[in-house]
Symmetry: C2
């Protein structure tokens, strides 16, 4: 059926131009006679790839010199352990529970210290972001942790929490590079790339340099210690070279699109097309209230499981794939990341409209 | 200059047929309308990819049902921590020091318990494998650990050590799938794939199921606990999907070549071409004695640093790249993994012969 519009929550669509470039260079990258998959990570040519990827990322985001950028393995789930192991001094931190991933991060931190739940939106199945203006944060907390965009529930922090002077740590996986990111507001901000940035198997950490310490928790495995990789510019051992290469191509694509400001405009426009339709639909209902809506992950339901299933199946037949919602929310979810073109969102809305009329 | 012969120690050459298939399917894998890099790891289509990769690997190696096969991230370096954290009961293990990687593995294990050096070949710069027939192994050791092929020094165990009933754990990264592997002789055998099997960012662990425990060391991060991934068939979180896909293509290629027995024959033949030349050369000298020679990594020196550098530079000009040796050995190293064709080895030997005559 040709290329589909893939609404997967991740891994998800990549820009066609990026795929085409990777395809063209597959057996012979820039006249090197090698695939990027075959290159020594210690070679000059790969060193150029990773250095250029980092430089383009820094340019795109505007990362100040006092922050390190690390390309790591193991995904967000591994950072759930790395964050407390690297940041704990008092072995105490505050976590805001806005869903599955924030909660898993807290549970992992609780294995190594006191990870306090500061607030939660569990009472309404995580359909909103709690008020974070005056949380019970204490001076002995080493950091405050958030998951800034919640892939499963389709919520996004309308503003950053008041951390009362504690370091802010944020998992931005499902909104990574979808809008401008003011790194200076965070001690650590990280994201798995497999939603908005690249193929699975790379997580990018942006860490203020003074938080990269040698005196981490003694039980920290060498590979989870940020200093290990920071000292070696992400080349302590062989990294996911191919993944970093593809991320680098995506960074160049984003720069060509006009950068993160332009992406935000485009993403707001795309999201509005879908939310506007949902807000007037009599069949489909969005699950999240306007102030907390994600620009990236849009869950919606009909309230009728059989109707949901029928919609998901028929959508797939029309080349609109992976719109099934997460089991904890039910219904549907359309993830409309950077690489999802406006035409894809329009095609989805047109199909929903047609389906609504047919099933009125 | 077209495709080069790449003698890198890893990442290294991949079969051209594999690269061509990945290239052809880059924007539309088997009519799915998606790149493998864009697929949800929870989708039916990716599930087929990982299941087929595991089934082909099991067939290729002959992995018995009482062993699990896990596709993990973080490379061998992360397994250096995972091995003791998952296997320690008495927090004591024996390590045989045959070079850099074996030693790094022991140092990491020593951070979590008593990792005893049972034998070492450091006295002769790791150019041989110690006698392992009667090592000072005690009953309270949880396992005995080896690095079975030493990438840097070009040595390989001529036979497995007598572990006196203790579990054998082996890192086979740089000989992975280059010859038959009798999994039943090991408790755990693992390898980073980036030398002989696939692109960097995947490590494959083969673990006897009774060694996959819930009562691991309490400080084990969830992502380093083998049971976490074993319970979810390597899909606890998003894996390196692309890397697993390429490994799967390599497994199919290896099966088509006749399997690991056929690969061993081919690799012995390739290695003999190079060692036979080295053993009669007056300019180039192999650094490892015959009983301990690796089939995969062949270090050699002229004894003259300037001559070495001249050779490395001229070889590269002739499309024979990455023959520079590791700094701890000096000279040259030719890594001749599965995907290095016989023609590549012959081209190297012809060039060496010509160089020797010109520089006599």
């Amino acid at each position: 059926m040709g290329r589909v519009y893939n609404f997967s929550a991740g891994p998800a669509m990549l820009p066609v131009e990026v795929l085409e470039e990777a395809q063209a260079d597959m057996l012979d990258y820039k006249g090197s006679g090698q695939s990027v998959m075959e290159m020594s990570h210690r070679s000059k040519i790969f060193d150029n790839i990773i250095k250029e990827a980092e430089a383009d990322f820094r340019k795109l985001v505007g990362v100040p010199d006092n922050y390190s950028v690390l390309f790591l393995q193991g995904g967000g789930s591994q950072q759930f352990a790395a964050v407390p192991l690297n940041l704990y001094k008092n072995r105490k931190a505050g976590y805001i529970n806005t869903g599955n991933w924030a909660n898993k991060a807290r549970q992992e931190a609780a294995r190594f210290g006191n990870a306090v739940e500061l607030a939660s939106s569990k009472d309404k199945n995580y359909t909103y972001i709690p008020d974070c203006s005056d949380l019970p944060i204490t001076d002995d907390m080493d950091y405050v942790y958030i998951c800034q965009n919640n892939t499963i529930y389709g919520t996004r922090y309308p503003e950053l929490p008041n951390t009362k002077g504690r370091e802010l740590v944020s998992d931005v996986s499902s909104m990574f590079l979808s809008e401008p990111l003011d790194v200076t507001k965070y001690g650590v901000v990280y994201g798995g790339v497999q939603k908005n940035v690249g193929p699975a198997g790379v997580v990018i950490d942006v860490i203020r340099k003074d938080l990269i310490r040698d005196d981490v928790c003694p039980e920290t495995p060498t590979m989870l210690k940020w200093k290990t990789q920071d000292d070696k510019d992400s080349l302590y051992n062989t990294p996911n070279c191919w993944g970093i290469y593809i991320c680098g191509l995506v960074f160049k694509w984003l720069l060509k699109q006009g950068g993160l400001g332009a992406m935000k405009e485009r993403n707001e426009h795309k999201a509005a097309i879908l939310y506007d339709y949902l807000d007037q639909s009599k069949l489909f209902h969005p699950t999240v209230q306007p102030p907390y809506r994600s620009l990236m992950n849009v869950p919606f339901v009909t309230g009728d499981k059989e109707m949901d299933a029928k919609f998901v199946a028929e959508a797939a037949e029309h080349g609109l794939v992976n719109v099934k919602g997460h089991r904890t929310v039910g219904g549907m979810r359309a993830s409309i990341y950077n690489a999802m073109p406006e035409e894809g969102v329009k095609a989805l809305v047109e199909f929903m409209d047609k389906f609504e009329k047919e099933n009125a």
